[in-house]
């Protein structure tokens, strides 16, 4: 089904997904991580788009931030990671993640103080 979003529907930009899940278009299969109101490929409304869990990805770049907002851990280890067709920036569990490493989401952490929800962080995957 394509067309305009239903006025009573909640668009995907109001959906608070866990860090390890990404949106996927039910029509064309295109995946996107950062909320958008329509599928970037076919234009279908994202209001009821399905979500899928991300498996393993490759680290593209990393940084460790020493000057963080008051409700964020210091230091904050971050990694830019490519999961096939989806790329995102997320917290790594520790500094032991480098460009080229394979990573996956794991664990349950409060990413910002004061938030009730918890999310997984990126951890290195041992190559077989």
């Amino acid at each position: 089904m394509t067309g305009r979003p239903h006025p009573d529907r909640t668009a995907s930009d109001d959906r608070d997904l866990p860090a390890d899940r990404t949106f996927v278009c039910d029509d064309c299969g295109r995946r996107w991580y950062y909320d958008r109101r329509r599928c970037p490929e076919c234009g279908r409304s994202s209001a009821d788009a399905s979500t899928v869990r991300l498996e393993t990805g490759a680290v593209v770049a990393t940084t460790t931030v020493e000057t963080t907002p008051p409700d964020v851990r210091t230091p904050n280890h971050l990694a830019l990671v490519r999961f096939d067709d989806v790329q995102l920036i997320a917290q790594a569990a520790d500094a032991d993640v480098s460009p080229g490493d394979r990573v996956r989401f794991d664990g349950s952490h409060r990413l910002r103080d004061g938030r009730e929800r918890t999310d997984p962080r990126l951890v290195a995957v041992e190559e077989p």
């Binding site: 950062y34 909320d35 940084t63 020493e66 971050l78 995102l88 999310d119």
Partner: protein, 360 residues
């Protein structure tokens, strides 16, 4: 008149000093910059008025808007003012407000603008096998350029070692790789054609012309860019403005580049076509972008040392370039013989970019 230029000239410019903690009210800063740009009282009653908000590219967007209004004959004269007082809120609140610029899924991860800078800097150094000194050299150059700029926030020379030894903000970026929070205002007066006298009584023929303005959007979420070293909004806005002005990057004599982080100066210079991909760092270390180099970049100190009051920065770039094109600066900070000037003002970490070309 150069056939590639618009019929709009920048007749007056004004700016307040950029400071860490101004004791003056925001409206006072704005009025002072405007008064200095006007240099004579102009009646503003009955003038059309707009307010532009485009985060750190607000100044250039307002300039763009003013040029459009004058070029389209909606107005004969436009006063464009940009002002910001970042010290009005405590650091925690200002940091929180700026951190809200990122996508909400980025915000949930505690990501800030320096986080993007750290990721890009690490990727740049890795991919191009560049030394950490290349970033520090950008900071040292821009600080050196600010020493003789009376409105600069930091008129203090630093060397590469100072930058390398400063505290880490977002590895590999350190304190001296990052622009400060600033208070300040800047203003320009735009006039169409040659008939009206200049705002400061100058001969209109001596006043710099707007050869072109252009802007472009990019992705909001930085990770959605296929390449962390690619900023499409910068590249597209640059291509558009060079096309509109009828020039190539090689024609530019002096440039103001949005160096919110040192690595951005390098990436933007490459995206805009001033240097081949992966070579701006070598050019910087070789002195090409110094005041006496082939392409002087940020001769007023850039965001890094002149300061970055968000709403004023884009206009302060124009003020700097107009002064360079007029040649009415002390020899110690003048780019001799500059005829073509370029500025880029970037919103967020490249959500959108605004470019301007001026001709003497």
């Amino acid at each position: 008149m150069d056939p590639s230029a618009t019929d709009v000239r920048v007749s007056g410019v004004g700016t307040t000093p950029f400071e860490s903690d101004s004791q003056r009210a925001l409206i006072d800063l704005a009025a002072t910059a405007a008064e200095r740009a006007l240099a004579a009282a102009l009646g503003l009653n009955g003038a059309a008025a707009d307010r532009i908000e485009n985060t750190s590219a607000t100044g250039a967007s307002a300039f763009h808007r003013g040029v459009d209004r004058v070029e389209s004959s909606d107005a004969d004269v436009a006063l464009v003012v940009g002002a910001e007082k970042m010290s009005a809120g405590d650091t925690r609140r200002v940091t929180e407000a700026i951190s809200r610029l990122v996508h909400r899924r980025e915000y949930a991860q505690g990501i800030t603008l320096p986080s993007f800078g750290g990721l890009a800097a690490g990727a740049y150094l890795d991919r191009h096998d560049a030394p950490r000194e290349a970033l520090a050299a950008v900071a040292a150059k821009n600080h050196a350029n600010a020493v003789d700029n009376p409105v600069a926030q930091f008129r203090k020379s630093i060397d590469v070692e100072d930058a390398l030894d400063s505290p880490v903000v977002a590895a590999p970026l350190r304190l001296y790789d990052c622009c400060p929070m600033s208070d300040g205002a800047a203003a320009v007066v735009l006039i169409r054609g040659d008939k009206e006298p200049g705002a400061a009584g100058a001969d209109p023929a001596t006043e710099p012309r707007v050869a072109g303005t252009a802007s472009a959007t990019g992705t909001h979420a930085v990770a959605e860019r296929p390449d962390p070293l690619s900023i499409d909004s910068v590249r597209t806005a640059g291509e558009r403005v060079f096309d509109r002005a009828g020039i190539r990057p090689d024609d530019v004599d002096v440039a103001c580049i949005h160096d919110a982080f040192t690595v951005l100066e390098l990436i933007e210079l490459e995206e805009l076509g001033f240097y081949e991909t992966g070579t701006a760092w070598e050019a910087t270390l070789d002195g090409d972008t110094a005041l006496d180099g082939d392409l002087p970049v940020n001769p007023g100190g850039g965001l890094k040392a002149r300061g970055h009051p968000l709403g004023a920065t884009g206009l302060s770039q124009i003020v700097e370039l107009v002064c360079q094109l007029r040649g009415d600066l002390p020899e110690s900070r003048r780019v001799d013989g500059a005829e073509t000037a370029f500025a880029i003002n970037v919103a967020g970490f490249g959500n959108n970019s605004v470019c301007t070309v001026l001709r003497a």
